[in-house]
């Protein structure tokens, strides 16, 4: 017996090593590719942001360039600060609206729509995105323009002045942002509600919890991962989006992305643009961490309150 084992072990062990190596390689290869194609550009941007501006230089580092922080001091100009604040305000408002609309929609599809119709509801949410982005925005521009249908209704209701449109206002920017990013909010929340076992809610009901109690203490905390996924994704994308605000907001649609774009492509000031881009990334990381923290606090709030009032 032991002889057989002894004979088999080296070959088998070698094979196991090879297999393990192959699996490792297969599993890590995409990660390495991702690392190279993600980390390399970010590193380039980071290096670029630390070099001085040289007229006519696109990318790369000028010969004999010294390292400097001057781009980062230039980033925090009054213009950048005011545009950055406006971008964040837009993204916050847009994310909040997406959540307020997206959660009930996802909840409705999950709990009120017959099973066989659910996939169709999801398709309905995604279908508009099969047409070109610009066409959809163009459609909104017509609807919201001063002579557009929506503006006419609002004019008739005396909500806006006669002859005034919604287009090129802050509200139009929000309409565009929410319209474009709503599915990113609905889908992860839908998945998290879908995963939620019906038993939990039933148990809650059996224990005489009122519907709102069930929702606040069971459903909402358990779907927290979906909410956070949606909120994070939508918030980050809204902060970076500058095309929608420009198309819908006109002069009101100046976003931090517009600034970065103008420095990269019109000012040809890549170092400053890189510094702006990285400053934006850092700010987003901090904000997303803060939001996750606040979200977790809110999730645990019912528990805390319950304990306190017991």
């Amino acid at each position: 017996m032991s002889i057989f084992l002894g004979a088999g072990t080296p070959a088998r062990a070698r094979r196991r090593w090879i297999d393990a190596g192959l699996v490792w390689g297969l599993v890590s290869l995409p990660f390495i590719v991702y690392l190279v194609f993600f980390a390399a550009p970010v590193t380039l941007i980071a290096v670029q942001s630390l070099t001085p501006y040289v007229a006519g230089q696109h990318g790369g580092v000028a010969d004999g360039a010294r390292l400097t922080l001057e781009n980062y001091t230039a980033v925090f100009s009054p213009t950048f600060r005011s545009v950055f604040a406006a971008s964040l305000a837009n993204a916050f408002a847009g994310t909040l609206l997406c959540l307020l609309i997206g959660y009930p929609v996802a909840y409705f599809i999950n709990t009120r729509v017959p099973d066989r119709l659910k996939p169709w509801c999801l398709v309905l949410i995604i279908i508009p995105f099969w047409t070109s982005y610009l066409l959809r925005m163009q459609g909104w521009r017509i609807l919201l323009g001063a002579n557009g249908e929506i503006s006419s209704i609002l004019q008739a209701l005396r909500i806006v002045e006669p002859g005034e449109g919604i287009l090129f206002t802050q509200s139009a920017v929000l309409v565009g942002l929410v319209y474009n990013f709503l599915p990113m909010m609905i889908l992860p929340i839908y998945v998290s509600i879908e995963r939620l076992s019906h038993d939990h809610r039933e148990a809650s009901r059996d224990l005489y919890a009122r519907p709102w109690q069930t929702f606040l203490t069971i459903t909402l905390p358990l779907t927290y991962p979906g909410i956070m996924a949606g909120v994070t994704m939508v918030f980050i994308m809204m902060t970076g989006d500058y095309v929608t605000p420009e198309l819908m907001g006109g002069a009101k649609g100046m976003m931090v992305g517009t600034l970065i774009y103008s420095q990269f492509l019109q000012g040809e000031n890549w170092p400053l643009a890189s510094a702006m881009a990285l400053a934006l990334v850092f700010a987003l990381v901090v904000l997303v961490l803060a939001m996750t923290g606040i979200g977790a606090l809110l999730r645990d709030m019912p528990k805390v309150i319950r304990r306190a009032t017991r």
Binding site: T79, I142, A146, G165, L167, F168, A251, T258, S262, N269
Partner: protein, 392 residues
């Protein structure tokens, strides 16, 4: 090669016995009907294709000609005629800012795959200095003689060594004359009307810094290419104080916004503004403002390292043919500067006065210059202006 493929494609599309010639005629008729509405040029595309064929004879012009240009800035019939007659299929990639286009060429270290690039007048010196474009072979562009004298040998490219004029134009004021009843003649009127009750909040400016800073300098007849920090900061303050509070948008194509009622007065390029008169000939007024304005021009150039240099030359030569140039001018609405183009435009073309400048206009127009204009500072200040507009 590609000739043959196209022939086959046409045979598949059309019934037996159809030749390219017939097909082109039908296409010209179909195109002509649509073209008449705004272009008024219904030149038989077949005759253009024959011209292209004559150019292509005996030469191997390859399969593809890549052009890097602004969007919607060429007559598709003319492009088809070139492909049909001379051979190479034309592919157009578009940019939305010249600076971005130059940046792309620079990063690619030359052609970036394009055979022809369209460069604005103010950037010609820059692309030549950075060696992004190559010298033209004038023996392959005999039609260069067709260009009117004033558009040859321009100061930024003596003897047309690197570039050939594509077309030129200017900026002006387009407004809704039902809402703004007073007459507008100059930039001072523009500032005043913009601040009036009728227009405030519904003013549209172009989305590029030279045109916006220009408003201040043109109004006073001063050098609008200045790079002087003090003057630029003063101009910024004037714009933020007097104009920005009334601005609705920065938009390069204001026609839609005017028709939809979102703007009542706009700064615009005369070729794109001309389209409004095809839809509404009554309610809008175009002004070539006094006392000063810009003349801009776009130029064909062949990027360094371009693959299909022969086809690029053939194409430029083709565009300088008076018939081709007339078809092009009729479609895009800008004068190509080729001798005889104005005479070849039909009488029924809509608002010919927006294609061909009236007497005296050209005399008060000035070329933009980038060198010495302090573009870095200008971009910062323009962002400041736009940020101020966003805060209103």
């Amino acid at each position: 090669m590609s000739n043959k493929t196209t022939d086959n494609e046409i045979r598949i599309l059309a019934s037996e016995g159809w030749t390219r010639r017939n097909f082109m005629k039908i296409a010209a008729m179909a195109g002509g009907v649509a073209a008449l509405s705004i272009n008024g040029v219904a030149l038989a595309a077949s005759s253009l294709a024959d011209k292209a064929k004559a150019l292509g004879d005996g030469a191997n012009l390859g399969d593809v000609l890549f052009i890097y240009s602004w969007a919607d800035y060429a007559n598709p019939d003319v492009l088809d005629a070139f492909s049909g007659g001379a051979g190479p299929r034309i592919q157009i990639a578009t940019f939305d800012s010249v600076e971005a286009a130059i940046a792309k060429l620079q990063i690619a270290g030359g052609s970036a795959g394009y055979d022809i690039v369209v460069v604005g007048d103010a950037y010609v010196e820059q692309v030549i200095a950075r060696e992004l474009v190559q010298k033209l072979d004038h023996s392959k562009i005999p039609n260069l003689k067709n260009l009117r004298d004033q558009f040859r040998n321009l100061p930024f490219d003596p003897d047309n060594q690197y570039t050939v004029l594509k077309n030129f134009g200017t900026i002006g004021i387009l407004y809704n004359n039902k809402i703004i009843t007073e007459e507008i003649k100059n930039w001072d009127d523009f500032f005043r009307v913009a601040a009036s009750k009728a227009a405030s909040g519904r003013v549209c400016l172009l989305n590029d810094q030279p045109s916006v800073f220009g408003l201040v300098f043109w109004r006073e007849g001063k050098d609008y290419n200045t790079g002087d920090e003090k003057k630029l900061r003063e101009a910024t303050d004037i714009l933020i104080k007097d104009l920005v509070p009334h601005v609705k948008a920065f938009d390069a194509r204001p026609v839609q916004g005017l028709l939809s009622g979102d703007y009542v007065i706009a700064q615009g390029y005369q070729g794109s503004c001309r389209h409004i008169f095809a839809q509404d000939a009554e309610n809008y007024t175009w002004v070539y403002p006094e006392p000063q304005c810009v003349v801009w021009s776009d130029h064909y150039a062949v990027p360094t390292g371009a693959k299909n240099v022969d086809a690029a030359h053939a194409f430029i030569n083709f565009m300088l043919d008076p018939d081709v140039a007339a078809a092009e001018t009729g479609h895009i609405g800008y004068d190509t500067g080729v001798e005889g183009v104005i005479e070849k435009l039909p009488d029924d073309v809509i608002r010919k006065d927006l294609i061909v400048f009236p007497e005296g206009v050209l005399d008060r127009l000035i070329y933009q210059k980038v060198e010495g204009s302090n573009p870095t500072l200008r971009i910062d200040l323009f962002n400041e202006i736009k940020a101020a507009a966003a805060r209103q």
